[in-house]
Structures are given as C-alpha cells and as structure tokens.
Symmetry: C2
C-alpha cells in the first residue's frame, strides 16, 4: 500500500502511532501542503523507518506517486480541497477533522466521493482511546438500557497557538475544531444521526485570540429522541494536570455510565462501581488502512464522518445565527 502525507498541523501523530501495524505500507511522499516547514514531518517519518520523497507541491506528489492512501493534515481551510482532489483520483483519504470548514466544502467532498471508488474518514481518534472505546462497547451491549441523554465535555488548555487560530477563515471555529470529539461521542453513544441543534458561543475574554471562541455549548436532539449536550472550552488552566478534560455521561433507562479522569464509572441495579478499562487492542489509522484491504472493520465510518462534519458546521451556524437548526 503506497501512502503519502500532506501536512502536520493537527493529529498526524495518529498515523505514526500505528503505521507499524499496517502490513506492506510504504510512506512514499510527504508535503507540508503550505508554507509550513516540513522538517518535523520528515523527522517523524524517519523515526518510523521511512524515507519519503519531499514535495513542495502536494498535487504534484499525488499525481506522480499515485498513492493508495493519503493523510490530509494541511491548513484547516484546505482539508476539503485536498480531500476532494485525492478522492477524484481514487486515493483513499485519512483526513483531519473537521474535513470541511464550510457546508459547500463538505458538499464538494461528498460529490467527489460519489464519483470515486475511494473512501474517506476523519481523524476522530478519541473514539479509539481506551476509556471511550470500552464505554461505547458497554453502552452498545446494553449497560445503561435505552439511552436517553448523552453529555460530553471538551475542556482544553489554550496555551500558545499559531496565528491561523485567530481567524475564522483559517481556524473554522471552536465548535468544529475542539467540539467535534464531543459531537462524535454524542452521535456514537446515542446510536443515531442528528435531528436538531441549538448552540451558543463567545469570543469575549479570549486572551487576544481574535475570532477564536473561548467557550461554547451545544444542545442536540437525535433522530431517535436521545438528548445530547456538549460543553466546549479553552478555559483549562495551564497548571491543570493534563491538556484536556474529556468526559462523557450517558444516562439510560437502566443505568448511568460516565467516562471521567480516564475512568469508566457505571451505576446500575448493582450500585456504583468503577470498571477496569482494558488496554486498547486497536488504533484508528491502522484500522482504517487495514479496512481498505478488507483485513478488518474500522470503528469510524464514512457516513459518520459526513454526519459529524455536518453536525459541527450546523451547530456553529446555530451559534452564529441564534437559530435552532433542523437537520
């Protein structure tokens, strides 16, 4: 399997975490996809045992090398252009989320996908994190009965971020960028597509970060009636014990399950207890790459990738316009 990488602005680390578990893969070309220095990407590639060709022009790379698979992690506002370009050439795409910063860009990818035999998923790698993976397995096997509510939290340190986080056009907004994980968990734990969203956000008191929304909240109703809530912020203090405080709470007719501080806690007819989290057996990138050759199934699907991206963009639109939006 011939493989290329464009860019390393986001979660390209997922690739290097599990590229060793993809039999026969070769990393043939890399490009930063923009003016970014490609040196860090080159180092990561070499550390993983590859010596890819370096391209300044990502289109040229795809056309010359004709890879089977490309990871897209360039400028956020170019995800859609890069993904559509690859799909149109029959190249599978492992794409940083959100895969598009606007609805027309999402439509562009979906149109390209329709004409292509290639597939695309987004890098919602937290689905594969041990605690969330296990929690989802429990909920799907009925641990809380019929799910009624899902509440998700993403709280990040702001830290120091590159210039492109300051402008909506190049950043996309905090609901799509940070919130996509929370929205993905709501979709996964509810086991349903979205029916409706209302959201609010604020860029006030954002420590001089331009358009960047410092705090957001979303409320969903799913097609199956489950109510979903997301709380998203960059207010986690620098001195906090970790970068992010990721949480999910799933309440159903027979129990309540939570992921908090890396722990999975269940309350059901047998009372409250912490369930030991088994080590994760699988990883996102290797699962996707191996699924392309029929070797396994991937926990993140194409239809979820499209549904999630649309949900994030509509939630942002709701917050921008103050309107309840039906899907």
């Amino acid at each position: 399997m011939k493989f290329c990488i464009i860019g390393s602005r986001g979660h390209i680390g997922y690739v290097f975490q599990s590229i060793g578990k993809v039999p026969g893969i070769t990393l043939d070309g890399i490009s930063s996809g923009c003016e970014d220095d490609p040196a860090p990407l080159l180092r990561s590639s070499e550390n993983a045992g590859f010596t890819p060709e370096l391209y300044s022009d990502w289109r040229q790379m795809l056309n010359r090398l004709s890879p089977d698979l490309v990871a897209v992690d360039g400028p956020f506002e170019k995800h859609a252009e890069m993904a559509a370009y690859a799909l149109e050439r029959g190249i599978h795409v492992f794409c940083e989320k959100p895969i598009a910063l606007t609805l027309p860009d999402l439509d562009r990818i979906m149109a390209a996908r329709k004409r292509s035999g290639a597939r695309i998923i987004s890098m919602v790698g937290l689905r594969y994190q041990a605690d969330f993976q296990y929690a989802l397995q429990l909920v799907r096997s009925g641990a809380v009965g019929k799910v009624k509510m899902v509440r998700a939290q993403k709280s990040y340190r702001l830290g120091t971020r590159p210039e492109y986080y300051r402008r909506r056009e190049t950043y996309g907004g905090t609901i799509p960028w940070v919130g996509s994980h929370a929205v993905d968990w709501i979709m996964a734990f509810a086991g349903s597509a979205f029916r409706q969203v209302y959201a609010t956000q604020t860029a006030e008191d954002n420590f001089g970060y331009g358009d960047l929304e410092i705090a957001c909240q979303c409320m969903f109703v799913m097609k199956n009636g489950v109510q979903g809530q997301a709380s998203i912020d960059f207010l986690r203090p620098a001195a906090a014990p970790s970068h992010g405080d990721d949480r999910v709470r799933v309440a159903g007719t027979e129990g309540i399950l939570e992921v908090i501080d890396g722990k999975v806690i269940l309350i059901d007819k047998d009372g409250r207890r912490e369930l030991p989290v088994p080590p994760p057996e699988r990883e996102l990138f290797s699962d996707f790459a191996n699924s392309l050759t029929g070797k396994c199934r991937c926990a993140v699907t194409e239809s979820e990738t499209f549904e999630l991206t649309r949900a994030c963009l509509l939630a942002r639109e709701s917050a921008d316009t103050g309107k309840v939006i039906e899907f």
Copy 2:
C-alpha cells in the same frame, strides 16, 4: 413571631431543620391545605416542641391567627393562590419552589407582593448546602476570575411518587420541579439575570408516570454573557449511593471550580486541588425568618425568587414549543 404552615408535600423539612434558631417564633397553626392527611406535619411540629392548632381550611387559619409568616408547601398548583392570599394580608411567605406553575400565577403573586409590605422567597435550600454555599463564596471572591460558563446537573432517583406527579397541571413539569435548583445555581454562579433560554425534554420511557418528563436539558445565555447549561433527569438508579447527584461546574478566565460528590475542586494557576468544605453556619428558613426582623441577611432574595421562577417557566415553555425564548 407568629408562624403557620400550609402543607408538607415538598421541602417543609427546611423549616424544622432550623426553626430552633429563630428567637421568639411560635408555630400557631397548621393545615395540610388539601385532602392530604395532616398527621405527619402534626408529628413534625410536636417533635420540634410546638402544639399548633390544626385547621382543615387554610384560609380560615390565616384569617383567625393572622401570623407574621407562613410556609406554603401545599399542592404544587396551589402555591401561587396560597402565597398571593397571604401576601395580600401582609403575611410573609416561605414558599416551596416553584412558587407558581404558570406565568399568570407568577404575575398574580408579583401583583400581590406589590400591594403588600410582606416578603416572599422560595425554598431553594440547596443554596445553603455546605458545598454549594462554599463554592459560591469562592466564585464570588474571584477564585475562577471572570465566569464564562456554568454547568449544573440534577439527577434524581424516580422512586415511587404520588399520583399528582403524573399530570402537568398538578406537577408543573420536571424543569421547574427538579431543575429549579440547577437554574438557581446558574443564576447565582453567573451573578446575573437571564437573557435567553432553549430547552428540550422528553416523557418517553418514563416508567408509566404520565406527563412526567424523565430527562430534560436547558441552555441559557445570561444578561452578562455567561453561558449556562442544565442537565436534569430522573434516571438515577435505585441502587445508586444517594438520592441525587447534584453538580456544578464553573469555568472562568482564571480557573475552573466544581462541586461534585459533595466535594469542591478547584483548578487554577496553582494546579488542581480539593478544598475542604467548612461546615455551614447558616440555614435557609432561620435566615429568612430572622431577616424579617432585621437580625440578618438571607442568601435567597425576593428578586431572585421571581427571576428563578420565570426562568424555569420559560425554559419549560421553550421545551414545550421548541422555540428559543428571550427574557
């Protein structure tokens, strides 16, 4: 101070918790205010050292005894009628929340209050619970900087409830009944009145409880821009370690403070730590009763009582109609 009680359907326990701290108070009359058996109320009164007269007609009781203060805890749908009747006679009112189940009923109380020298507050006693009281004190003294988000949770066991919980007309709905505490915390921690609300709710899978909403969620924006979120449910399993799982999370520009499992946890520039909660020095009923004679200030005010009731009723209206509502 002459004192009477009407009913014991809700939190009349607050009265007996601290009536001993009100110098000179006498409990002169009680009435169940409806067909309820007054025996439990009579027993509580006797246990507290009082021998009140028992009335079947609460109006007659108020007119004959002319108390200074009455606690209203009769049928939920009669709070407003009873409170307005008392205020019109210059009797102060300690009223179960929500003080009204409809906006016209709230207006009726506010009109009676305008013509009266007497005051009314609602029994949002959780404000006085040690952990929340301390957390509020910390936030008001700047522990998290400028508050940006408040998230509150009320999760209760459903248990077995009287018939009047099954009908909207006699119950009022889960957002006002259970949610009022969460909405009160949002108001208190945000330090602001409400600007806007959107809410959802469901009565599906409610274990045969008629109209009773089993799960609800509310999203507020406050007048000062703070974003507030409430999650309210009756899904806490019977085998859970306590009746309720009350929580608040307050995120600000300089820290994040949480009340969870009775603990107060702060993350700020000095890292994450649990703060020991001092024992509560004051209680709601005695504070209110003593404030009437100028002996102290009460942490729950009249304007907050009205604002909170309106917020709960508008949140319910939003969930009923699917519309965003401006205050």
